[in-house]
Amino acid sequence: MANIFTSSIGKKLIMSITGAFLILFLTFHMIMNGALVFSDEAYDAIVRFLGANWYALVGTVILAAGVVFHFVYAIILTLGNHKARGNIRYAETKRERGVEWSSKNMFVLGLVVILGLLLHLFNFWYNMQWTEIIGAHTNSLGMSPTDGADLVRYVFSHPGYVIAYIIWLVGLWFHLTHGMWSMMQTVGWNSKVWMKRLKCISYILSTIIVGAFMLILIILYVQSL
């Protein structure tokens, strides 16, 4: 087992495990955001729970490690695969029947997700948990770091942010539609019978997760008008 992660399948296993972990986080995040639609107090209670407490900080570090491993191994695999393709490319290519665009552009979609994540971390993590960690009482917007609901409502009252987040979420949706069934295939939990089912489940879950994120931010924007 020692050298499992040096093999091409082992490296993909890391992508699958970290990918599954990040999907679980997204699901939790989506449910947490849902609280804001119904009650600002409920949302702020979650924000306080996930502030600069030791368990939230441990969770943040584990989550960051998941993102870093997923991203670093994506780079390692992409560079290796690029080299394996050879120096000379085909003069003419055609899209193969049944091959989805997302499956061939996972790295580019991943970059879209990472860029969106950087903006998102600045908007919220920096102004909430980080502000608490450094012991400041107000964030860069002059708000209390535990005043999550007000911060989120403030950000999503700006149409520019709403559009940027929608673009980000579309990229995430494409990434998830391939990533979900692909991770099952990589660990070997797939067959001819389950192929269609897994793809269908991937589309449904991706749409539920990303659709809920989008719906919530649109509701927040409409409420801000």
């Binding site: 091409s8 082992g10 695969n81 070997g188 797939n190």
Partner: protein, 247 residues
Amino acid sequence: MNFKLKIWRQANAKAQGRFETYEVKDISADTSFLEMLDILNNNLIHEGKEPVAFDHDCREGICGMCSLHINGEAHGPDTEITTCQLHMRKFHDGDTITIEPWRSAAFPVIKDLVVDRHAFDKIMQAGGFISVNTGGVPDANTTPIPRADAEESMDAAACIGCGACVATCKNGSAMLFVAARVSSLAKLPQGKVETLSRAKAMIAKMDELGFGGCTNTRACEAECPKGVSISHIARLNRKFLTAKFKD
């Protein structure tokens, strides 16, 4: 029918390659693609020029020797056929047809459209066999095999090792080829005994030879002339990971 052919010419493995354009005229629609190349070569020889080198053997779609990336597709514009089974009726009169060799770091060009596919032989030598003395041919049905297993095994065994999967994969991965070999043996009583060690050995050799990893695009199964499914790759992944966790 008349065609303009844009063909990759390369004198040897180290030479710089380039596209050259040729014209072929009065080709019957029922001419096979390789016969059309034979006609071109005949013309080139009569003109005192070097004929185009390309791989071929059985011309029945079973040996896996013919290759060619035609108009952006391995084995050309049709499903589940090899280049030798492709006919000119699939093209239109006056078409320009681009013909390239398989492109992959593990399949270097030897000359023109011929690539070196020895890497597949090396992967087979690493584990694509049953290492027991099987003796003479046993009577049919001496060892009962469930029909579903036999069918699954035969579907995988249909792989002819042509390399279209590697040529098509954006990662130059040989996973479909390895999966077909491992899967066809894993579903049979004689072959399944060594499944785990076979999966490990063949994947190790595949990685060593510079093939890329699988990113599940499904392009390989779309262009496979024998329609080998990527469900066999799922089985290979399962067997490989099981083997590694047992180590």
